[in-house]
């Protein structure tokens, strides 16, 4: 009795309120998305909104159940839970049913469960466990390796299920690692690689290479403050390039100009390493390294892009505006943008969206649920929803920061990162700012697995948070 009143006092009611509001807004929009004049009863179990109401009920039961569980259970059993979910992820490869080209569902009595959704909280728990241990140093190779293994196992299994979108969610743990001491430049490198990825697909290799080499030369000038050396290097580089070009012309070699530039740069660098080694110029070494990482990434992207599946290529090309086939791969995003864009300031009103009602946007009750919000509730409604998500994520970060245990804080950051990744990618893809990688909008998208997984994810954290004061008492 004492314990329960303690719980009621210490639990973060604001988070629960935000959760509840989001869930019911989500349900309202699912109702609108699948609304059909002929089936308008809200409790129709045959319809998605009827089913979603059941999932919501079950989610509440689940939430209460988690809150009543001792918080030590989650810290103590984090690794076994992780193990169980990994087992399920592996089992679904064999026992699962296929849908939309992905083998990632268990079917039990007509209800489908997607273990990949539950992988998120389990991995989050495992990472919190490992990172909060004494002796874990994020910049140490062995620690990073352990972390890597914890991530690679679920990611690998999910990729094997052909569900690349869910796998990409795990990249959000970069924020957790950054918070726990990962070098800032690595986070920066992450964003740079994304930029390189985009630019490699958009611009010819010669331009990319020129920008990278130019960047590294400017960095050299910045760190060395020696114009003479800078000029010598530039002259050497250009000399090399012209010499190679002359060779190409002389020997009639079948070789691209960007390759010649690459070789010239390589030669310059090799020559430079000798001087750098002799004069112990640490910064210049880093610049060189960074430029080669960038070059490597650029070549890697080109290579990897060739290996992608056709529909993924289409989606990426489409996002970058390379292809504009509005009846093919770009159809979803185009219709989605029309739906949201036509909402105006105040929206068309509940159940009044023509794009929504007449099914112009595919997957509208799941991945493209934000269209319904945008179309029927307009800019005001969309902003409110984004605002609520932002408030929720920031609230979780705030809660995480007030934790006394490392485990709880790390777990909290994991929750915030996963939520943020989902919201950013999902809303981004509906308004044409992010690639279409098919991950749900938390609490809004139709589906039991997704709702339950987010409920578990959040309520474990709220349970940990409610217990924060007892930890050292």
């Amino acid at each position: 009795m004492n314990r329960q009143s303690e719980l009621l006092k210490n639990i973060d009611w604001l988070s629960i309120l935000l959760y509840t509001v989001l869930v019911f807004m989500g349900w309202l929009n699912i109702y609108a998305a699948v609304y059909d004049e002929s089936h308008s009863s809200i409790l129709d179990i045959g319809q998605r909104y009827g089913k979603q109401l059941m999932w919501i009920g079950a989610a509440f039961v689940l939430a209460i159940f988690i809150l009543l569980t001792d918080s030590k259970f989650f810290t103590a059993f984090s690794l076994p839970i992780y193990g169980c979910v990994i087992a399920l992820l592996a089992a679904v490869l064999v026992l699962g049913v296929e849908s939309h080209g992905a083998r990632s569902w268990f079917e039990v009595g007509g209800i489908r469960i997607q273990p990949a959704e539950f992988g998120k909280f389990a991995t989050c728990l495992a990472i919190a466990n490992v990172m909060s241990r004494h002796g874990f140093k994020i910049m140490r190779l062995s620690s990073l390796l352990t972390l890597g293994i914890l991530l690679v196992i679920p990611v690998g299994l999910i990729i094997l299920q052909n569900d690349t979108g869910s796998a990409l969610v795990y990249s959000s743990f970069i924020f957790v690692m950054y918070r726990e001491g990962l070098h800032g430049s690595l986070l920066l490198l992450c964003f740079i690689s994304i930029a390189i990825f985009i630019f490699t697909l958009l611009y010819p290799p010669m331009a990319i290479l020129s920008v990278i080499i130019g960047g590294s030369l400017i960095a050299f000038l910045y760190y060395r403050q020696n114009k003479q050396e800078f000029y010598r290097i530039v002259i050497f580089l250009i000399g090399c390039f012209l010499f190679f070009w002359f060779l190409k012309w002389l020997l009639e070699l079948e070789i691209d100009l960007d390759k010649l530039l690459l070789y010239s740069y390589l030669l310059t660098c090799l020559l430079g390493i000798y001087f750098i080694y002799k004069r112990k110029m640490k910064h210049i070494m880093l610049v060189l390294l960074a430029s080669w990482v960038c070059i490597g990434a650029s070549i890697g992207v080109d290579y990897a892009f060739d290996k992608l599946q056709a529909h993924q290529k289409d989606r990426i090309n489409n996002l970058l505006g390379i292809e504009t086939d509005l009846s093919g791969a770009g159809y979803n995003v185009n219709q989605s943008k029309i739906a949201i864009g036509s909402g105006g300031l105040f929206g068309k009103g509940f159940l009044q969206g023509t794009q929504t009602k007449y099914n112009f946007v595919p997957e509208q009750s799941t991945d493209f649920i934000f269209c319904t919000i945008g179309e029927e509730w307009g800019f005001i409604g969309s902003t409110v929803v984004i605002g609520l998500f932002l408030a929720f994520i920031l609230r979780i970060i705030y809660l995480a920061e007030r934790q006394r245990s490392d485990f709880s804080r790390i777990y909290g950051y994991g929750v915030a990162s996963i939520l943020f990744f989902h919201v950013a990618i999902n809303i981004g893809m509906t308004i044409g700012l992010a690639p279409v990688i098919g991950i749900p909008l938390p609490f809004f998208s139709y589906g039991g697995s997704s709702l339950w997984a987010f409920t578990i994810l959040i309520f474990i954290f709220l349970r940990l948070d409610a217990n924060r004061l007892q930890l050292f008492s």
């Binding site: 918070r179 105006g344 112009f360 969309s382 605002g387 994520i393 920031l394 950051y413 308004i431």
Partner: protein, 618 residues
């Protein structure tokens, strides 16, 4: 780990940053850029044009002449077209694959987002098959249209035909859209605005499969189509039918008018064609065939054909002579018959008859030298001292009878005819001081004088009414139509008309127009024979009946028909008898038979293969 606490700010900043970018983007998409509203509307709304039925056309007795029949157009919305089974579609439609692809490309070029006609005028049969399979072809749908249906197989020149509007017409009048029909000729053209009605529209809501989900705002913005107004013509279709039969295998035109009202009872241009040829998919082919036919069926001879009126014109010459006082009914002139009569330096031939003749007899016998003398007196009238001035006065009078200019606004293809202006002679003779004898041919309705059969009939009306004519018209004026029917008074004393009419009456009883006589009806007529330098003379007849309170005026012009009495007179007599009495008396059955069976042109069947050996006779 407290040394990394500041990093929560960095992470929060990134998250807030992303949310701000999204909100800005949403603001741009939803509030600033309004193109999405248009696109959403284009997605979900389909505007279906409701085509009104075109007005019907009736004859004077309420018989339905032109009505509508349903036809179906296959429409396409190029944006929604997906890859489809062309083989099946062309099989159903019965068209070439190239045609389909070409038309589709044309529609695509016109607009990706607007529906346009892919294949027009599909038969009801094919429509039934296609309608069932249409679900397989997203972006295609059917539209019901109405085409004309004709209950008669002649009189195409009266009705005219409809065709698809061209770009110039669309630019001029925005109520037309590509694929719409518009009157191209005849009444369809003149009364386009009356017949066409008003298009309506229905805004439907459709889903992603183009299935209709209901009407937009419960039809608040829908507009029903307004059916076109009907036309009642003044034609007597039975008479028209009879006249066409009499005119078969003859080239020429007939106009009959009820003189007191100006109503056109009969309008025959022969050879004509079946109006049904101008609808349906075969239209283009039929049109080409008609346009190369040497007998020119597309020429409306009654209002677009200009012919010398020949001796029928002598009636007006006599009238003017009496009016100006240069002759009296008792004036006599000599005629030497076939041996040409010398008149003031020229010689004029005639046929043999008694001599000398007074005015009545001259009209009765159609004596050429008599009217040459009249012409000389008219132009050498002492009142004017000048041939040119006298001519101008004469011309004004002739024109006041409705000749030499368009008189019937119902026909857009009507021509002016020609009562030559003096300037024409000035140029021809290179002097303004020409003599009467230079233009002697005009006295007997030849030379530069050209009238349409309608104008000849109108001349008949002036005589029949003894002094006026009413604007000839073929559509009864009703409210909402601005066809004005006016009475035109000809400035001439009635007693002069009575004299000329008496002469015409004598022609019908004992003169050139004997062959037109009808039992117990007194008719008045004047024959004409227009000399034709290219071949056989044209046979002409102008008449009205009965003599008092005339009910019908008729003008008949038969190309290459020889003397007036050979064809024009008997045909005129038969038509008037049919109109006045309803039947042909047994006495005239033989004439009727001869007229029905005689042919003045090569049989039409031969025209295509042997066109080289057959040079047009005129």
């Amino acid at each position: 780990m407290n040394k990394y606490t500041h990093r929560k700010t960095v992470i929060s900043a990134i998250i807030i940053c992303v949310c701000c970018i999204y909100i800005i983007r949403l603001f741009y998409m939803q509030v600033i850029d309004d193109s999405f509203q248009m696109k959403a509307m284009m997605n979900s709304q389909r505007v279906v044009t409701q085509y009104p039925a075109r007005g019907l056309i009736y004859d004077r007795n309420g018989k339905l002449l032109v009505e509508n029949q349903p036809a179906y157009d296959l429409m396409v919305l190029p944006r929604q077209v997906k890859a489809f089974d062309t083989t099946e579609l062309i099989q159903i439609l019965g068209i070439e694959k190239e045609t389909l692809i070409r038309n589709l490309e044309k529609c695509r070029r016109y607009s990706l987002y607007k529906t346009s006609v892919l294949i027009s005028q599909i038969t009801a049969n094919k429509y039934a098959i296609l309608q069932e399979k249409l679900y397989k072809y997203p972006g295609f749908f059917m539209q019901t249209r109405t085409l004309r249906k004709y209950n008669v197989s002649h009189s195409a020149d009266v009705f005219g035909y409809i065709g698809e509007v061209n770009q110039a017409q669309i630019d001029r009048d925005s109520s037309y859209a590509p694929g719409d029909y518009i009157g191209v000729s005849g009444l369809e053209k003149t009364y386009e605005n009356v017949l066409k009605g008003t298009k309506g529209k229905q805004i439907l809501l459709v889903d992603n499969y183009n299935r209709i989900k209901g009407s937009y705002k419960d039809g608040a913005y829908d507009q029903p189509a307004v059916v076109g107004q009907n036309l009642t013509t003044t034609l007597d279709i039975d008479l028209q039918e009879y006249a066409y039969r009499l005119m078969q295998n003859k080239r020429g035109g007939i106009i009959a008018i009820e003189p007191s009202t100006g109503e056109i009872l009969l309008k025959v241009s022969s050879p004509g064609y079946d109006p049904q040829l101008m609808i349906g998919l075969e239209r283009g082919k039929n049109y080409r065939q008609l346009s190369i036919d040497p007998n020119k069926p597309l020429l409306d001879r009654t209002v677009s054909g200009a012919y010398p009126p020949g001796s029928t014109f002598k009636t007006l010459q006599a009238l003017y002579g009496l009016k100006t006082g240069v002759i009296t009914p008792a004036s006599c002139f000599e005629c030497y018959g076939k041996s040409k009569t010398p008149i003031g330096g020229i010689r004029m031939g005639c046929h043999n008859h008694q001599s000398p003749l007074n005015l009545y007899q001259a009209i009765q016998q159609s004596c050429n030298p008599y009217f040459v003398n009249v012409w000389r007196r008219i132009l050498e009238d002492d009142k004017y001292h000048d041939v040119r001035k006298a001519y101008i006065h004469w011309r004004d009078f002739i024109c006041s009878c409705g000749l030499g200019s368009k008189i019937c606004p119902d026909f857009s293809n009507e021509i002016n005819g020609s009562i030559p202006e003096p300037a024409i002679f000035d140029r021809k003779f290179r002097t303004q001081d020409w003599r009467w004898s230079y233009i002697m041919s005009l006295s007997i309705g030849q030379g530069e004088l050209e009238l349409t059969p309608l104008q000849i009939a109108n001349m008949g009306c002036v005589l029949a009414n003894r002094g006026y004519y009413v604007t000839p018209h073929i559509v009864r004026p009703t409210e909402g139509m601005n066809n004005r029917v006016e009475k035109h008074i000809v400035d001439c004393d009635r007693k002069y008309f009575d004299i000329v009419v008496e002469g015409m009456s004598m022609a019908a009883t004992g003169g050139t127009a004997r062959g037109a006589s009808i039992d117990s009806v007194q008719i008045c007529g004047k024959t004409g024979t227009a000399q034709n330098p290219h071949g056989e003379d044209h046979s002409i007849f102008m008449a009205f009946a009965p003599k008092d309170h005339p009910k019908i005026v008729i003008a008949i012009y038969i190309e290459n028909g020889g003397f007036g009495a050979q064809y024009a007179v008997p045909i005129g007599g038969l038509i008037m008898e049919k109109y006045l009495k309803g039947t042909i008396s047994p006495r005239k059955k033989a004439i009727e038979e001869r007229m029905l069976n005689s042919s003045l042109i090569e049989p039409i069947q031969k025209k295509s293969g042997t066109s080289q050996t057959e040079t047009p006779a005129d």
